[in-house]
Symmetry: D2
Subunit: 305 residues, 4 copies
């Protein structure tokens, strides 16, 4: 397995040059774009890593997976999906059109920004701090890492430039999709996107999903099986922005990417995979990271289809 | 003329029952919906009124006409129209779709909300207060009424519920269409919408436009002729929300309505007409007010076409 | 007046180089793009011409004005506008989006392709030939020219490549907006677009509209006044494709352009103007023709606003 | 297994009353809406059936799966996906909007009507008849049934009322997405939709897909493994119209429905499932058929996620 990971990094490294770091969040643009790393945690609790697998990055959209699971545990599947849909969309992640053209302003799914913001408004807690603490606590349990926290500089950068997300949130508030104060929901959303961890943490999170919610280390049930399956489904149909369809064809695994350069992937019943490569392609996915996953999936014949 | 106005009110009054006051700004919903008034100021400076022609109401979208003229005087036609387009649109006044589907997020014209907010960001002034004072001063000159001010309750109501306008403004800020702080521009926009006056004031403003910018009372040139013509053009092509086309067919006059129930109309070379009737039709135009204008235009054969 | 027209052509000629003939209808691409001509017919029946004012070209979208008048005379305003709307649109002339996003597939106005095709389906006649003969007969009366006929080569070229118009027509047939056979309506539409005439013919047609439907030569009432006004309104709000707003600001006259290079303009109570210049700008309007009209409107202060 | 199928039919039968047969193709509206049947073919070649598993119905959109496989075998994956995308969409199956708003008119995926028509234009053959014979021959091999043919009445009904599909095809022809004659492609598409078979045939087709392209009966490789996986991916992300996301959550199997009432489902490595129930829900999927699949998937724990 260690050899495979080393090969995957070697194979994928040239593709890093075709991408570039996210520029619309200034703080993200400061990262070294040539990094590439991968980590795997198996169902037996073994782990391997190669390349920049211990470098920190911010979760960005990968946090949507955790937030969705917490919201469904907090409020129930039925209530959550009365506020957000289940359907994939060919529109970009930050599109606002469908909110206006659909009969209701209900966002199409919880993996696009609009949907994730709506989901955040459902997480229980008296105030932003409590909600955030609950969410970070949940991410720590998923990653088996009590040191995880959010990056203050990235948060401030997101908050200062997050006009498009403010537009989405205000549009949904107008349509009564969002509960509570718009700015409070956005604070939670921007802080959650700024949660910092590494590829090994992500691989552990993927292993928990691979085990239908049960920790491969402690045997603890962290998430109910039905919710673990639910999020894996969304990861397949809309986890890779508007390249989800092509990724499903080429790789065939439930995965969620973030513009911080991370990708969370999970092989049901087998393993979790975490990837980090901050150079992004035109769809916002890690350019090298996708190639790492293509290589591993092909070599180990991991496609679920 | 007095008889004609009385007849017009009598003719139009039943249509008031088909409309209802704007509900999305709570403060506007408190008004008596059965009011209907009209006023005319001729090029010779004569004036007539009938019905609720002295009742106060807030300008709402009628203020877009004044703001556009001031912005063009402040920054020049070329600069203003690098930020906002000149084309009518079949979309509702608060639509956000075109901002995303057009090649740039430039709003289509200065009479829809997005365009008016963009125009507001161009008005000169150190801070919101100065911009607002300049704009109110300009409205006072247009109306020949030094007592005009904005309604604090309506402003607060608009500010508290203006999520859709916040969505539009943040979307445009993201696309670099809006200059300065989003919240500062919105404060100016909400306060300008809350400027309070009556149908007689509006008729005077219409008379200034009828005279291509020159006061029929003092002979003062308040606006350059080219700018007066410019706004009259926008009033024809997009002054009555997405009922502008039908209004042009039925009435044939440059006009601008507001959800406060007012309509500003102007008959080039002849007169200004102000109407007030807070019961709105489904497009957001004064239900009775449109009928008043239809009656007067037909009787006096005023269509410019 | 003759001097003015000569000057207008001299002023506008350089702008011809910025445009190019319509390429999507192959036959139209064969024309000499450097031609530019203008003609005027006054309310007294006098006429002047300059440049290529006797060159033949096909009406293309200018024919929509004639077809609309005939359909309204045939079926009544109320019925026609139950099938097509009255509102301008910021979308391109061949856009299909609004047909799907609006509550009904009713096209927004009779000047876009979808609306014009819907209008054509309303013209009376047993079969295509009779409808076409009635329409050409009507155009002959408007132009006072009994020799007008359609160009067979252009018709065949339009028919062979008119996939977008076929898409619009079939979409509307599906939504029950179009009456009768799709291909029959399209045959009428393509033949009507291919009606051939010159700038002097167009100027005469404009003069009839300027006189609210009465011939300046014979005094005959060719169209009822209400219908003449109706089409002039549409010419202002949506006669110049998605540059109608800017044209209203710069020229201020009811006008309708066609991709054959013609522009029909009318000055209410004063004159008709016909322009021909086949080099088109990016919106599909005659590049030189618009400049000719700008020059004449400014010099004679003709804006209706 | 036989008991399970009988139970599934009993469980799902009441839901039949919530749906109704497709009405926009008149011929389809004549079917008895209370029918419901299911069939399973295992990897060992065993088969079971319950309810109306031998009733004939037309494939409709299920044929898109076969046509896609044939086109990819004929022209290669790379060429096919230069004409059609790989991304799911939240729009209805017959939507035309995306063709205009995307940078190219390339349809988003091969499972929506626009994409399927584009795919049909790629199938090899001198003329429609040869293409159709090749496609029906391929369906016969997939279903192991040499008697399969298309239903002439349904074909004529589709052809006579297929205005929306004509709109899609002409729009794509205009954008050079479709090769060859529009009407020829539509003839192939309408005839392919009218291919008639039963739930047992469909189950056999699903078993071939479950075996990655190899017949569970003869061991013959009917489709290359890579292409079998490719279509299973599309069946997950966009096989159930704009309810694909919810179906993935509730059932978790690659599936493709048709408005004839059929659903093709496949359990990778395990079995093929064919369902027939002509009463459709609001999204166009078999109302009872979805419930049958929900029941079986839950009882046998078949979700791939």
């Amino acid at each position: 397995m260690q050899n495979l990971l080393d090969e995957a990094i070697r194979y994928a490294l040239p593709y890093v040059l075709e991408g570039k770091p996210a520029s619309y969040i200034p703080e993200l643009g400061k990262v070294d774009p040539k990094q590439l790393g991968v980590a795997i945690v198996s169902m037996e609790g073994n782990h391997w890593g190669s390349g920049a697998c211990n470098s920190n990055f911010t979760m960005q959209s990968i946090s949507k997976v955790a937030a969705l699971m917490l919201a469904v545990m907090d409020r129930g599947e039925q209530y959550v999906f009365s506020k957000v849909g289940m359907e994939p969309t060919g529109d970009p992640f930050n599109s606002i059109i469908k909110l206006e053209t659909m009969k209701t302003a209900k966002p199409l799914n919880p993996m696009i920004n609009a949907g994730a913001i709506a989901v955040d408004s459902l997480i229980l807690g008296e105030h932003v701090e409590e909600k955030l603490n609950r969410l970070i606590g949940f991410v720590r349990r998923l990653c088996h890492n009590e040191k995880i926290w959010f990056n203050q500089e990235v948060y401030q950068s997101e908050n200062a430039t997050g006009y498009r997300n403010r537009a989405l949130a205000n549009f949904m508030k107008d349509a009564a999709i969002i509960e509570g104060e718009v700015e409070a929901v956005l604070e939670l959303y921007f802080k959650q996107c700024s949660i910092e961890l590494n590829a090994m943490d992500i691989a552990m999170m993927g292993a928990v999903l691979a085990g239908d919610g049960t920790s491969p280390i402690t045997g603890e049930v962290i998430i109910p099986k039905s919710i673990a399956r639910l999020v894996k489904t969304f990861m397949v149909t809309c986890g890779m922005y508007d390249a989800s369809g092509e990724f499903a064809v080429r790789v065939g695994l439930p995965a969620k990417s973030g513009v911080g350069g991370g990708i969370l992937a999970t092989v049901p019943g087998k393993m979790g995979i975490g990837v980090f490569g901050p150079a992004l392609d035109s769809k916002g996915n890690s350019a090298g990271g996708i190639k790492v996953l293509e290589y591993i999936s092909r070599k180990l014949d991991l496609s679920i289809f």
